[in-house]
Every structure is written in C-alpha cells, then in structure tokens.
C-alpha cells in the first residue's frame, strides 16, 4: 500500500503541498481532481521521487521513498508512471520503447524483455504497431504506448497524470478504455484527471485538491454527487 503522511513540498517560496495525507490500498483506484496549480502533479512526482519533499513521509509497501538509504531506482520499478505529455522515446521503435527498461533495468534477456513488452503492447491495442516509430503515431497511440511501457516493468502500482488532457477529444476514449482495462485487471492506480465522469465510474475513492491540501475525500458518490464542502461544489459546478 501507499501511505502518504503530512507531506509538505515547496518550490522556492511557493508552498505547493501543505500537508497531504492519503492512503491507497492494493487494488484500489484513487482519483485526484482539483483546479490547475493545486499540486496534483507535484504529489505524483513526489510519490515517484522525481521531486524531493520538504517534510512528511511517503511509504510504499513499507519502504520510505524519501529516505536517503532507499534504492530509488529499485523502488521506481514498483511505481509505473504515465505523464500528461506522452514522452515516448523518439529514437526507439514501439517495441524497443516498451522493452528497454525490462532489459536494462531488470536485466532480462532481450527476448524475454521483448516478449513482455509485446504482451503489454497487444494489451493496450498496439499489437500491429510494434516496429513503428512513435513520432509517426497519434497522440492517443503514443499515450497507450507510454502505458504499455510502464506496464512492461510489471509494477504493482500505476500513477497517471492527466493522461488524456493533451489529447484531441476523439482520442480520449481509447486511452480511457485502456485505463478501464487495467482497473478490471485489479491494478492499483492513482489517477490525476479532469474527466469527472470517468473518475466517478472507475474510482474507489476521489480526492479533491485545493491549494495544496485535500479539501474533501471519499467515495465518488460522496465527493462528486454529494459534495459537503463549498469549494468542492464550486469546482464541480465549473467543470461539469
């Protein structure tokens, strides 16, 4: 499980996270919603230790992410991450993109790595694009590649940062379908998203972020259908 306790994070003078507490159990899907700049992405980056934190703890399966003694590269293998901008590696084919980390990080043979990568690529519907270069694919396809690339490390947790918000509207559906697929597989996921309807459909818990704090958290029914806090109501009335 992922335990986030009292996490503070500042960029210079700007305090972006002001004490976040959040638990994510195995098999749970937690969605994070909130206005732009409220610190949603920053939290995901902190969970993956791409950003350092100022105080608090983030503990993944009993291991403190920000402890100096933690082997962060080993830990990251357990935390798949997909970004808003798809970040495919443009110099590698689709298959090479997905097989790279299993081979060079996990030390699998090239064949084994490609086998796992192929399986995940077929899973996200890119089975016919294995030898294509990502720059020739649509944003939706590249985003599914990014998901398969993360899945090929076989992580127990997946972090998604607004994976549909840079996509053309007609491509959003195919990526959301891929996420539904993962949920049905029982994957533990944290999804930062602007797709309220999607959050309602797939989440076990929804957290509403406001200015670096979790303003409201609960089941989708509680937070999305029946928000108690004024700020949540205001936010939802704006985005729905």
């Amino acid at each position: 499980m992922i335990e986030i306790k009292g996490v503070h994070k500042s960029f210079g003078d700007l305090e972006v996270l002001k004490g976040i507490d959040l638990n994510v159990n195995r098999g749970e899907v937690v969605s994070i919603i909130g206005a732009s700049g409220s610190g949603k992405s920053t939290l995901l980056y902190c969970i993956n230790a791409i950003e350092k934190i100022n105080s608090g703890n983030i503990i993944v399966d009993g291991i403190d992410v920000h402890d100096k003694k933690t082997d962060i590269n080993k830990l990251r293998q357990n935390l798949g991450m997909v970004f808003q901008q798809w970040n495919s590696f443009p110099h590698l084919t689709v298959l090479e993109n997905a097989a790279l980390a299993p081979q060079i990080v996990k030390g699998f043979s090239k064949e084994k790595a490609q086998e796992i990568a192929t399986k995940e690529l077929i899973h996200v519907g890119l089975g016919d694009k294995l030898h294509e270069y990502p720059t020739r694919m649509s944003g939706g396809q590249q985003q599914r590649l990014a998901i398969a690339r993360a899945l090929a490390m076989e992580p127990p947790y997946m972090l998604f940062d607004e994976v549909t918000s840079a996509l053309d509207p007609e491509l959003v559906g195919e990526v959301l379908d891929t996420l539904r697929l993962l949920r049905d597989d029982g994957m533990t996921m944290i999804c930062v998203t602007h797709e309220i309807a999607f959050a309602k459909e797939v989440s076990d818990k929804v957290a509403f972020f406001h200015e670096g704090l979790i303003e409201e958290i609960g089941t989708p029914q509680q937070v999305l259908d029946n928000p108690q806090r004024e700020r949540t109501q205001q936010f939802l009335s704006k985005v729905l």
Partner: protein, 223 residues
Amino acid sequence: MNNYEFHWNVVFDAFPQLLSGAFTTVHVSVLSMLVGIVIAVLLALGKLSNNKVFYHFANIWIEIARNTPALFLIYMAYFGLGAYGIHLSPYLAVFSALVFINAGYLAETFRGGFQSIPTTQYSAAKSLGMNNIKVYRYVILPQMFRRIYHPMTNQFVWSILMSSLGILVGMNELSGETQRLQSTSFRTLEFFMVAAAMYFVITKLVLFTSSLIAKKVFKGELS
C-alpha cells in the same frame, strides 16, 4: 578572345603529388575534427557549468572561434606565435586554427543538442527505474547524437574546405601542393581545375558516406 590551349599531360604526370596533397587535406581535417570534438565536449560542459572561471573560459573560446575569420586564426598561429619564438610548421598552424574553430562551433552544437532534449524525457526514463548512467546511455545521448549528427558532418566538410587556406602559409595540402606544382609548370588553370574537382569529389564522398551511415544507424525514424 584569346585562344587558351589546355595542356593536361603535365597535370596527369603530377597526379601522385596531387593525391598526396589530397591525403594531407583529409588528414588535417580528420585530426582537427577529432581533437576539436574532444575539446568541444569540455567547452560545452563549461558553458553548462556553474563554475564562473570554466564558463567564461569556454565562452571566450567559443565567441572568438565563431566571430573571427579562419585566416586570421591561421595567421595568429603562424606569425603571431612565431613572434613569441613558437614556430609552428604550416601543418601545425593550420591544424591548430582548425581545431580552435571546430571546437568553438561544435561546442555550441553540442550544447544546443543537449538543451534540446526535453526534461520530460529524463522524468520518463527515471520513472522506469533507470539510474542516471542508464538515462544518459539509452535515452538522452542517443537522441542528442541524432541532433548533432548533421551539424557535425557539415563542420567536417567545412574543415576540408577551409584547410585550403594552407596555401597561404605554404602547407603541402591539396591547395598548397597545387600551387607549388603550377608554379613550376605554369599550367595554373589546369592544375586548379583538377584541384577543384578533387575537393568536390572529397566533399561529396564525405556527405554520401555520412548519409549512408545515418540511414543505417537512424533507420526509419523521423526528425
């Protein structure tokens, strides 16, 4: 119009010397490129570093190399150093000037290539569990190499063409050799026509080989 009679025999007889001149041309260009690349990496690191001394040293080198004529730098190496009792051979004078310039231009190429890789590529690679060495080895440097490949080829071609300034300090590369040969036979036009053709062939061969390698290494990628 005068009737100029072309005499090619004397040129053909001198062909071995011309070839040896061409060899020196390629020699000095390749060497100045290789040494230039090594220095360029250091200069690029200097321009990216926070160390003031290192930064300014790199900056001054780069700006002098980019903003003064090659011939000026060759004269500096040949006559200028000579005034301090450092007498470089024509080869060394041209070589050092080319190294100086190649390093300056390539440093900017390398820095630009490095900075053109979006930071999100680092995040993406790290999120897959790669340590810093792997991030650079498998994700950043290969992409950087693609971006600096063509500018590097162009710099190499430029070195070949500019080494012809050796003619002005009596170097025995292709131009200098041609100058020497024509001065005893007076078939100036013929000799320089052949030299021009040889330069053309050399640069075309370089460009052709370079694109062949690019096709092999970069396969079907765009950009």
